[in-house]
Subunit: 560 residues, 2 copies
C-alpha cells in the first residue's frame, strides 16, 4: 500500500479533534475540567488524559484498496481513528479509554460521483461494508461498524464534494453537494449573491454536512412550522449499488409516494446522497427575541402549546425547565424560561413578538419590558443551534445561548472527569407530554441513582414545537465510574427508551436511529413498514454493504 496517497482531509482538519467534539483549540484545559467536576460529588480528582494515538494499537487494514482507486484512500491512523465513531458521549468516552477496536480499515475521499460509484462497486465485489461518514457528528452510533460479517470496513468521507453548484434565484433554490459543512455552505451561498440562505442550523452546524442532515432528517433552525430539513428538499441524487436515483426538481408533486421521503432518514442504508436541490430563504433582516419567565413549568408548557397553535410561527420557541434554566444561567429560583424569537426578511416583526408575549403573559408568564430589535445576524452569530433564532437581547437569552454553543466542549471536559453527561430527545402529542415529562424526570432520576449510586440531574428543554405536540430534549448529568462510563450510560439509555415507548413518544426527533436507537426503533417501526424497508434495501443494496446494522437488518438472502 505504499502507493496510497494519504488524501488530505477538509480544510479545517488541522484543528479538528479526532476523539472529541470540534476543534482542539476549543477543548477545556485540564484545570477547567477538574473545576467543573468539583460541582459533581464523587468524581475522580484528575481528568483522563487527552488520548495519544501513538499509544493506541490500531489493527492493520485487512484489505488493500484497488490500484485504480488507490489515490482516493487513506489508511493514516489519525484518519482511521477520526472515522471510527461519531460524537456521542459513549463515543468520546471509548476514545478517551483508547478503545478504537471499531476503526475502519480504510477511509476513502471520493471527489466525484463517478469515483463514488467505483468505490461502491469495489466494496460490493469485495464484501466491504461502506459507511457514509457525513461530518462525523452522529450521536447514535450511525457511523460505527459493529459487525455483520464483512471482509473489511470502509468509511466514506465526501468532504471533497463540497460545492454549491448552481443557484436558481427565481425559485430560490440551490444545487449543493452533500459533503459541504454548514459554514462553508452558507459562505458559498453568500458569495453567489441574491441574499439567500439555507438557514439550517443544527447544533452540529460547524461539523455536519448537508448529506448528513438529509440522511438523518436533521432538525434545524426553525422551532415551529418547518423543523426538519425534509421540508427544504426539492430533489436529491442518491448513488445506490443498483444505480443512481435522481428525483425531479419539483416544488410539489402527488405522483406516487415521494421518492425523496424514502431516502430522507435512510441513514446511508439505501444509498449515498451526493447532492440535492435545496429550497432557500431570503436572509432575515428583521429580528426580535425575548425571554419569558414562569414560576410553574406546567403553565409554561401550556403557553408553548398556545404559541404552537396560534399561527404566529415564531422562528424560535424554546422552553427551559427549571433545571435547564439554572444550568445555563438563564434563570434561578426554580423558574422556567421561554425564549421566543421572530424574524423576517420582509417586514418588521415587533408586532408579532408583542402578540406572542401577550399570549405568554395571559398564560402566566412574566414578560420583560420591551426592547429594540436585534441586529441582523452574521455567518458567525447566525449559527444558532437547533432552534435558537436570535442572538443577544436579554440576559436570559444570552446566557442560554452561550451555554448552548459551549455545551459539547463542556460535555467532553466532564467526560474526561468520568462524569456521565448525555442527552436524549423525543417528540409526543400535547395530551401525553405532562405525564411523559414527569415519568422521565422521576424514572430516569431513579435509574441514575440505581445505576451510578448517586443522584444526578435530569433536565428538559423543548427545542421544537408543533401544533400537535412538542419535541422535548432531556439532559442527564451524573457521576460515572471510571472505566464504566459507557456501560452506565447504556443502562440509563435503555431505561429512557422504555419510558419513551410507554408514552408513545418517538425514540428520536432529530438525532436519527443509527445503532444506539435500534431497540426503540424496532419497537416503534410498524412491522409491515419494516418488511417494505427491508425489501427496498435488498433491492437497492443486494450485497448488504451499506451501513450495515443501521435501521433494519437485511433479509436472510438477497432478493434483488
Amino acid at each position: 500500500m505504499t502507493d496510497t496517497r494519504h488524501a488530505p482531509r477538509r480544510k479545517s482538519a488541522t484543528a479538528r479533534s479526532w476523539w472529541g467534539w470540534g476543534r482542539t483549540d476549543q477543548a477545556l484545559p485540564d484545570g477547567e475540567c477538574a473545576a467543573l467536576a468539583s460541582l459533581i460529588p464523587g468524581l475522580p480528582a484528575e481528568p483522563l488524559p487527552v488520548p495519544d494515538l501513538g499509544g493506541i494499537d490500531l489493527a492493520p487494514p485487512r484489505i488493500a484498496p484497488p490500484g485504480s482507486l488507490a489515490p482516493l484512500f487513506s489508511h493514516d491512523p489519525e484518519e482511521r481513528a477520526a472515522h471510527t465513531y461519531g460524537k456521542a458521549y459513549r463515543d468520546v468516552v471509548r476514545a478517551l479509554h483508547g478503545d478504537l477496536a471499531a476503526a475502519p480499515d480504510l477511509v476513502a475521499f471520493p471527489r466525484t460521483e463517478t469515483e463514488l460509484v467505483d468505490l461502491l462497486d469495489w466494496a460490493a465485489t469485495a464484501n466491504v461494508a461502506a459507511i457514509p461518514f457525513g461530518g462525523g457528528s452522529s450521536v447514535v452510533g450511525g457511523v460505527e461498524y459493529r459487525g455483520g460479517g464483512h471482509a473489511a470496513v470502509l468509511s466514506l468521507d465526501l468532504s471533497a464534494m463540497d460545492r454549491v453548484l448552481e443557484v436558481d434565484t427565481a425559485s430560490r433554490a440551490a444545487r449543493i453537494q452533500a459533503g459541504v459543512l454548514g459554514p462553508d455552505l452558507e459562505e458559498q451561498l453568500r458569495a453567489h449573491g441574491g441574499g439567500l440562505t439555507l438557514r439550517h442550523f443544527p447544533q452540529s452546524f460547524e461539523f455536519s454536512t448537508l448529506g448528513g442532515w438529509l440522511a438523518t432528517r436533521a432538525g434545524g433552525h426553525y422551532a415551529t412550522l418547518h423543523t426538519h430539513i425534509d421540508d427544504f428538499v426539492e430533489s436529491m441524487r442518491v448513488v445506490t449499488p443498483a444505480g443512481t436515483s435522481e428525483s425531479w426538481r419539483l416544488p410539489g408533486s402527488g405522483a406516487g409516494p415521494s421518492p425523496d421521503r424514502l431516502f430522507l432518514g435512510s441513514e446511508g442504508t439505501l444509498g449515498v446522497i451526493t447532492e440535492a436541490w435545496m429550497r432557500l430563504q431570503d436572509r432575515p433582516v428583521h429580528k426580535a427575541s425575548a425571554a419569558v419567565r414562569f414560576t410553574d413549568f406546567a403553565a409554561a408548557a401550556e403557553a408553548v402549546r398556545a404559541v404552537s397553535q396560534s399561527g404566529l410561527h415564531p422562528a424560535n420557541c424554546r422552553l427551559l425547565d427549571p433545571g435547564e434554566a439554572a444550568l445555563s444561567g438563564a434563570a434561578h429560583h426554580g423558574e422556567s424560561v421561554l425564549v421566543l424569537g421572530v424574524e423576517s426578511a420582509h417586514r418588521p416583526v415587533d408586532g408579532q413578538l408583542a402578540e406572542l408575549l401577550a399570549l405568554a403573559a395571559d398564560l402566566g408568564g412574566s414578560v420583560p419590558a420591551p426592547s429594540g430589535p436585534d441586529a441582523p445576524d452574521t455567518p458567525a452569530t447566525g449559527q444558532s443551534g437547533d432552534g435558537s433564532a436570535a442572538a443577544g437581547s436579554g440576559d436570559a437569552v444570552g446566557a442560554w445561548r452561550s451555554a448552548f454553543l459551549r455545551m459539547p466542549y463542556v460535555r467532553d471536559g466532564l467526560a474526561r472527569m468520568s462524569a456521565i453527561t448525555e442527552t436524549f430527545e423525543t417528540a409526543c402529542t400535547w395530551d401525553r407530554f405532562p405525564a411523559l415529562y414527569e415519568e422521565v424526570r422521576t424514572g430516569i432520576g431513579a435509574a441514575v441513582e440505581e445505576i451510578t449510586g448517586s443522584a444526578g440531574l435530569v433536565n428538559c428543554r423543548l427545542t421544537h414545537v408543533y401544533p400537535d405536540g412538542p419535541a422535548p430534549y432531556f439532559t442527564v448529568i451524573a457521576a460515572g465510574r471510571r472505566g464504566r462510563e459507557a456501560a452506565m450510560w447504556d443502562e440509563i439509555k435503555t431505561a429512557a427508551m422504555e419510558i419513551l415507548a410507554r408514552h408513545g413518544a418517538t425514540v428520536t426527533h432529530h438525532h436519527a436511529v443509527g445503532r444506539d436507537h435500534r431497540p426503540g426503533y424496532d419497537r416503534q417501526r410498524p412491522e409491515p413498514f419494516a418488511l417494505a424497508l427491508r425489501a427496498a434495501k435488498s433491492a437497492l443494496d443486494p450485497r448488504g454493504i451499506l451501513n450495515p446494522g443501521v435501521l433494519v437488518d437485511p433479509l436472510p438472502g438477497p432478493t434483488g
Copy 2:
C-alpha cells in the same frame, strides 16, 4: 348467490349518478347541454342520452363471495356500474356510450377492519384483484381494473367505515375512519365541539373520502404553505396482505424514513388505509379576499411568485389566465385575475390582505377599493374547492367561485354533446414556468387542432403555489367526434405528458397517477426508487392483488 344481501350504499346514494359527476338532480337538462354546446362549433345538435342501465349488458360475476363474508358483498348491477370507473372525462364518456366492460365482478362494503382483513385474505387466496374505491372520484383511472390475469375483480367500498372515532382537543387531532366523505367528516367534527376542522377542501370534497385523499396525496384548501393532505397526517393505519401497519401518533419524528410517507400516495397498491389521526385547525373566523386584475399574464405570474416568497401565506392564491378568467366570467378583455384570500382563527386579517394587495399593485396589478371582511363560512359555503379560501367578496371572486363549483356538472353536459372537456395539472419550479406555459398553450393548441380538426381552448390557472414554483392547472375544451371522444382525449393527453416531461414538470400535482398517468410517471420516477417500490409491493402484497396496474408493475415473481 341468492343469499347475498345488496349492501346499502352510503346515505347519499339515492341521488348519486352512477355514470357522471355528483348528484343526478344537479345534472344539466338536455336543453342546457345543447345551449352550452352551441358555443363550440362543430358539435352534434343532440346530446347523448343519459345512459340506461337496463340497456347495458353487464357480464355476470365470475366468482361468488365466500359464504361467511357474503353479507358484505353486492352484485347489484347499479353498484357494479357505479364502481366501474372514476369520474374522469374519459370515464364519463365511456359510460355514456354504454361501455362497462371493466365493471367489477363484485362490490364489498366492509364495516370493520376485521372484515376488511378477511376480504383481503379471501381475495389473495382466490386471485381476486382488490381495488379500493374511495369516493370514486378518481380522474386518473385509479379505480378501474385494466387487466393483470386475475380471476375476478372486487371493488372495495369503505363507505360503512365513516366515523370520527376520537378527538384530542389538546393536540388538535382526530382519529377518523377512511371511508368518510368530506361533508360528513366536517359535520362530525363540528358535533364534537372545540371549533376544530380538517379544512381540507379538494374540488371533489362532497364525493371523496379521507382514505382517498391520503392514498392519492390530495391537494386541498391551502394554496400556500400546506397544500397536500400529507402535512396533516399524524399517524395512519393501513391493512396490507402482510399485516396491519400502524404508525405512532407523533407531531414529528426523525426515526428512519417516514412510514406514513410510503403509504401516502400509494394509491391502494400497498395496502388499504382504514383510519388516520389527522391534524386539525381552529375554525377560521376572520376572512378577507380580493381579486387583482393584470393586463399582462407574465406580470401576474411574477406577482404570484412574489406572494409565494413573501412569507404572508395566503390561504387562497389563485391566478386565472385570460382564457380562464373569461370562461368563468371573472374578467374579460384579456385580463388575468389573481384571487387572494386570507383567514385566521385568531386575529384580524385585513392587514395581511392589504400587504398582499400592495405587493400585487407594486408588480402591476389593479387592486380593488378596500371592502369589509367576509362572513365566517358555514359547512356549505366552506366547501371551496382546491384552494379557494373565501366566498363572496368582489364580483370576480364570486363569478369564478360559482363557475368552479358548477364545473364538473358542466363538464358532463358538454360530454353529452361530444365536446372534449378535460383538465390536467402539474407543478414546476418558477424558472421553468414561463416556457412551460407557452409551450402547453401552443403545443396543446396545435395538438387539439390536429387531432380534432378544429381549434380549441387551452386555459390555465394556478391552483397552489410554493416559494419555489407554481402548480398550473390547464383546461382543454374542444369539439370532439361522437364515438371518438375518449380516443381523441387520450391523444391530447399523451401530447400533454410529453410537454410536461420536457419541461421537468410533474405528471401530476394532486390528481395522482392511477393508470392514465403511468407513461409520464414511469418516465419521472427514478429507476432505483421504482426498484424499491416494487420490492416493497412484493413484500406487502406478494400475490399482487392490490390495485394492479397502478404506479408500478409487480416483480416477475413473488419475493415475499
